[in-house]
Point group: C2
Chain length 386, copies 2
Amino acid sequence: MENFDFYNPTKIIFGKNRLGELDSLVPKDAKVLILYGGGSVKKYGTLKKVSDSLKNREIIEFGGIEPNPKYETLIKAVDIVKNENIDFLLAVGGGSVIDGVKFINLAANYQGNSPSDLLSDSSAQAKVITSLPMGTIITLPATGSEMNSGGVITYQHGKHVIMNPVLFPQFSMIDPTLTYTLPAIQVANGVVDTFIHVVEQYVTYPNEGRFQDRTAEGILLTLIEIGKQTINNPTDYDARANLSWCSTMALNGLIGSGVPTDWSTHMIGHELTAMFGIDHGQTLAIILPSLWEIRKDKKRDKLIQYAERVWNINDVDDNAKIEMAIAKTRDFFESLGIKTHMSDYGITSDKIDNIIEALEAHGLTALSETKDLTPEISRKILENAM
Amino acid sequence: MENFDFYNPTKIIFGKNRLGELDSLVPKDAKVLILYGGGSVKKYGTLKKVSDSLKNREIIEFGGIEPNPKYETLIKAVDIVKNENIDFLLAVGGGSVIDGVKFINLAANYQGNSPSDLLSDSSAQAKVITSLPMGTIITLPATGSEMNSGGVITYQHGKHVIMNPVLFPQFSMIDPTLTYTLPAIQVANGVVDTFIHVVEQYVTYPNEGRFQDRTAEGILLTLIEIGKQTINNPTDYDARANLSWCSTMALNGLIGSGVPTDWSTHMIGHELTAMFGIDHGQTLAIILPSLWEIRKDKKRDKLIQYAERVWNINDVDDNAKIEMAIAKTRDFFESLGIKTHMSDYGITSDKIDNIIEALEAHGLTALSETKDLTPEISRKILENAM
């Protein structure tokens, strides 16, 4: 096991009917900026319940944070935070809203030239050492952003990672019933996103992180058990609660502590979203099976472990285990309604050059747990994913 | 799944050769009280390294915190904290030292009559709302005290639980190499203690906590894999690192969130330690298999799940699964050198009346996940454990 630090101070309030507790979580005298996305939290009444719970506090609302939140949108909220002397940021929405609010917080507390520095030069992020207290009410189980200190922001046609310990939410409320109204495709994307967060911290090379491995396998087994069920029966509380808690646990630092991680599927997938507007979860479902096919020798031992423990494939030789495990993974994504080939989304092979150029422009030329996934290999992965 | 809150702000610094980082973890101008136990941290040089790392800070040392730490010992340190205007408490030792330091912190910040109130009347504990910052350097993997806000203190021949959110350590350093010098029996006790912390949050009744169940099973499987190995080969880093991390994860709130818990084995075991001085881990190994035998109908579904997933017992009927799983659990403890019957420790059946009286005197008359484990049932468990 490698040396590691683990720190996660976010308080989780999990379960049904807990919005009323906001009153005790947000300071009584705070001036609160509530931030949300496309309006479904308004439509389904969540925003009203949130405001009601924050009785007697001065509240300003800022809506319209889009999926893959854009710098240009977020920067408008930064002005509000500064001009209105906001004391508390409350994100109500999915990962994009929470990621966006984290950037707003970072930018509002940045003392340098322009907030765009924070995206164009990632070393600028560490200069921010204070932040406003921030709470979240998550309405889409997927990104884990409600219990970590990172986010992804769209800027100049690229997706940029922000990460800073001051960005941990002070609290996050996870009420699975708030996700009942989600479209099936978004839930399916969430299952896939969670699944891939896990395997990116697990299917690397063995290094004796037994707790981490078993916990990762536990999340994967749970997703396989409840994935289809929670898409087909959105109001099955226990299935949705298990998806919600697994998605939080998948990316809060727990299973990645002390073990190698390989974020190449996310990095290549981000380019597909930035370039073609494909949903984040869908891009991951395209890249992962293909990446494993191309990198199966590098990941051999862990792919065998994954085959045995997650898919219960035991009575064949090791090569067959790997092939079957990759096929089962692809079938699982497809069974949820998420297609796994580029051509399914209308991307033709002549676009691969552009994708490789984008990876190079963003400095993503040495990806993976061993830093040897070059643009040449990314090209093979993309060709294989057609 | 039940509603729950999860909050754990302790920063973990895990791995080899990290004592030097204390300098950046403890404020430069702090007056530090270093607390330890019987002197092995002195003998093996850990204390010297800790002091060296805290260069230029004023340091006072307080040794002699015994296993099952006593009120009378701890209260002496409370006087030092107050009279010397201590700013930071640093515990160096096992669970008893850390539990003791938590009580010292609680007592030093208690405004009521006498610190003994905190043990005789558990409602007094909640009156403490501030505490000194506290760090720990753990030298015995077992109790999980390094990453939770609870402890157990011996007072007037009873063991008393303290619990307060202000008692989370600010940081805990977990260096598995610091445990290499432990006697084998203490490591064995640690494996058993960790194992039983897990099953007390897992072998109850089903309630759809799939992440929690799988994570609990992962810790149990790991302990079975590395338990004997880490006792026999104390300097096998990876085995000891896995034991260390599992013991922290077993009792930091993670696997018990949203699921029923049954602490009766600990509660009955505490009386055996208080009355006969038997090691904590040993008392648990005596009580657990017997408790399961007596309560196997109540715990039927989870015992079957435990048999299948942890011990891989599949090809027999359900009753046989349960019997075999209990037998395998007992055999596992015995294989580590921990005896599982009261008579092995010289306790005769005429003492059972006294144990039941102690349970009643301490109000432990409605134990278990369903609060229906009466003194009558405790008696059966003890008789069955002879």
